[in-house]
Amino acid sequence: MKIKLNQLLIKKLTPLIWKIFPARKAQAISRFSMIEKDSAVQLLECMKFVGDNKIKADLFQHVLEEFHHADLFEELAKNYSDKHLNLSINSRENIINENSTHEDFLKFYAYVHVGESDVNEDFEVYANAIDDTSIRRTFLKVAADENRHEVGTDQILFELCNNDKIKTNRLILISRLKRSYKMYTIAMKNIGQIVFNFYMSIIYFCGGLFMVRSSRKQFLWTKSDHLDFLKNQIADLKREL
């Protein structure tokens, strides 16, 4: 349901927003590049926890494809921006780490599978929603690859679960729920940011009148004021250490 709502938004809102704010187009495509690169890095991390070299080799192939997709989106984004896109890097969620168990790894891999399945559908919706040949071509190309990944990851997950179909389906279901919850939290975070921005704007305009003077005063500090400040910082540190 949430996924479908997401796709409806892509279909209806994205062309409109990209038309009104052309800079958003480059930013959004560049974000896709970052997401694909992040997938590659997560899979690389994942390789550390796999004992079977055949599966590891398949993962390596998958990593190369994700980097390739990142390249495609990066090149595409350049067509729509006059300046370097300096997007802030979202801090990476370490889904899997040194202390992870085999079960954690299976959960992670099921999550990868669900992710592939979702983006595959999303990319197709983007391709059909945007009236631009190069964008459409890139999204369709990546969607086709992701479609293969969806099938491939399903197969690997099945093998990792010792050909236990019930366990495989259970892991996929848990991952779908987790992904839906994650999308919900992202949406809530964005709404929260809007509310936060609203309150901060009020604080800014109310408090600014009082703060502006003291702020400007701080910029009038002399070099010796700054030197004294640094000396005091060092003296405090010495006491604490």
Partner: protein, 603 residues
């Protein structure tokens, strides 16, 4: 006493572990996340450092952070309110950062490491730089200069450092406060010239060699120099509006439109200097040259001031601006100091180590009498990698490459394992002599932004077409950016003009002019002015790399090769064998030399 240093939240996050005053391990987070200049909390680097030191989180006695985020917040908020009511966006951005990181940083660290809040301390940014450069230098006493964009309220600093019977003393002598920042101005012009801020500054420096200083007056109207001070006329910049093109109308009226980042410069550092370059490109090169010249003057002004204030014969120099190897050469040429030292990672990445070393000196440790090695990163076993290689199918690699590569079958990948390091190095030297380009991977990776022979791509320095092939099909490197040469110290004594015997040449910190008779032998590794940012290798620095240079010298008569970082455009230098394999798969790199194994593509 186990002390963990952390640097994060701006760019080049890193971690370092210091035990009993000795640096055991250090790494930038980007090496583990493949995100160049990664600013995120350095979890992976911390984990690596603890593992290398053989300790657990609970064994950490103290955590030090490379700056004081609360003081930094006071500066960003003051900057926002100073421009009231035109700075709402900056204020919201600053407030968001404050609420998500600055306020909670101690708690974040404490939670991640399961450590008491009292065991976490903040070290002022420039003090971290200062401690890093002094406490890794081996000097008993030195003038210390730090110059970067901004740390808390400070842009540049002068300290005096001395070793004492009980430890050391670092005394701040002069502070050059924000916003009078040389680093910020250099970065702003980097954006103007079409390069990426906090990444493309080396391109600005490289471009400057093609220009003439025709715009000194205009630049000096921005960077105001007198005998005592460096000040910036901020009316040319609007840092609150756009960090990629932070200029005002006044700036545009003097310098015109910025160069589009999509336009490539046609300068070629391996050609001879021409007189008929494109007029518009020449303009930007002239601006870069003028900027570089004024920066050198400003750096020398601060260095001279440090000399006058301390009277020392030793200089330690840190902060991001210390990565400018052309300006560093001018410091050497000035002969103001007998000895000049710059750590291998003078930027923010080195702040973690500096903070940790600083704190360790308060617990009965004394500064080292030797240079701290740059090889502090992780090493990897090759056998698990070879087992994986046996299963890898290269038939689709050509689909994933940015550049055209040929389709390979599995039997076209040849793996050769050597019984001894000596035989392995013999074979690598022969391949280099046979005009091959080799990805060379050996031991622990280097700390800092330079590849120093453990994660390097190597090739002959006398073969220009080979170097161009490397630029076009492997590194995707702009033709105006020069490669650098690695050479043995014996060869350097013969080939370098005004041979400098200090430490600045060990880690590619300064550029040196090559004697005329050696230019043809090294031309592919030289800039347009026949200078090179040489890595001069002695046996004690890096035994294997030194042996390789010697072996190559025996075959070719020249103990020098091109040494460039082992990374693809847009990626950090590779850390693990798998990352090296990714680059091998995605580019036209034909040889991978890992520890004692050579992997080759046979076509």
């Amino acid at each position: 006493m186990n002390i963990l240093g952390i640097s994060s939240n701006y760019h080049d996050s890193s971690a370092a572990i210091v035990i009993k005053g000795e640096v055991i391990a250090s790494s930038a987070e980007e090496r583990f996340t493949l995100q160049k200049h990664d600013p995120s909390f350095p979890e992976k680097s911390i984990n690596y450092c603890l593992k290398k030191a053989g300790i657990k989180k609970s064994d950490i006695d103290l955590v030090v952070y490379h700056e004081d985020p609360h003081v930094k917040l006071s500066r960003t908020l003051s900057s926002a309110f100073k421009n009231f009511p035109y700075s709402l966006a900056t204020f919201i951005k600053t407030s968001t950062e404050a609420c998500t990181s600055a306020f909670w940083l101690k708690y974040e660290i404490a939670k991640y490491l399961s450590i008491d809040l009292k065991k976490i301390m903040f070290i002022p940014h420039h003090l971290s730089h200062c401690a890093h450069s002094f406490l890794t230098s081996g000097f008993d006493e030195a003038a210390i200069v730090t110059i970067d964009a901004v740390g808390e309220w400070t842009a540049s600093c002068i300290f005096h450092g001395t070793k004492t019977d009980t430890g050391f003393k670092l005394e701040p002598l002069e502070v050059f406060p924000f916003p009078n920042s040389l680093g910020l101005v250099y970065s702003a012009f980097t954006a103007f010239l079409g390069f990426k801020v906090n990444d493309g500054e080396c391109s600005t420096m490289a471009l400057s060699a093609f220009g003439k200083p025709r715009y000194l007056k205009e630049i000096k109207n921005i960077i105001l120099l007198n005998t005592e001070d460096v000040q910036i006329d901020l009316s040319y910049f609007d840092f609150k509006r756009d960090d990629q093109l932070p200029f005002t109308e006044k700036f545009y009226s003097v310098f015109g439109a910025p160069r589009s980042y999509k336009s490539k410069y046609s300068f070629d550092c391996m050609d001879d200097l021409k007189s008929d370059y494109d007029e518009r490109e020449m303009y930007y090169a002239d601006v870069a040259c003028s900027l570089q010249t004024v920066l050198e003057e400003a750096v020398l002004l601060l260095i001279r001031k440090a000399k006058n204030l301390t009277g020392s014969v030793n200089l330690c120099y840190g902060g991001g601006v210390a990565l400018n190897c052309v300006a560093n050469s001018k410091i050497l040429e000035s002969k103001l100091f007998e000895n000049v030292y710059i750590p291998c990672d003078p930027g923010d990445g080195g702040g973690a180590m500096g903070a940790a070393l600083f704190a360790s000196m308060f617990y009965g440790n004394k500064p080292s009498n030797y240079l701290v090695s740059p090889y502090l990163g992780q090493n990897y076993e090759v056998d698990p990698f070879l087992e994986l290689m046996a299963k890898i199918d290269p038939s689709e690699w050509n689909r994933f490459s940015k550049i055209k590569t040929n389709r390979l079958n599995k039997d076209q990948i040849e793996i050769r394992k050597f019984d001894s390091k000596d035989a392995f190095l013999d074979s690598v030297a022969q391949l280099l002599a046979d005009n091959q380009i080799i990805g060379f991977f050996n031991g622990r990776f280097e700390n800092g932004p330079r590849a120093l022979g453990n994660r390097s791509i190597l090739c002959r320095a006398d073969n220009i077409s080979l170097a161009k092939q490397m630029s076009e099909t492997i590194k995707l490197r702009a033709s105006f950016r020069p490669y650098a040469c690695a050479m043995t110290e014996e060869f350097a004594k013969e080939a370098i003009e005004d041979n400098y015997s200090g430490n600045l040449n060990k880690w590619m910190q300064a550029s040196f002019k090559i004697k005329k008779e050696y230019v043809p032998k090294l031309r592919a590794g030289l800039h347009i002015d026949h200078s090179t940012r040489a890595q001069i290798v002695s046996q004690g620095d890096n035994q294997d790399f030194y042996s390789l240079l010697k072996k190559y010298g025996k075959i070719c008569g020249v103990e020098a090769i091109i040494n460039t970082s082992f990374n693809e455009q847009g990626f950090p230098i590779v850390a693990s064998p798998i990352e090296a394999l990714i680059m091998f798969a995605r580019t036209n790199l034909k040889y991978l030399a890992i520890e004692n194994v050579i992997i080759a593509k046979r076509e």
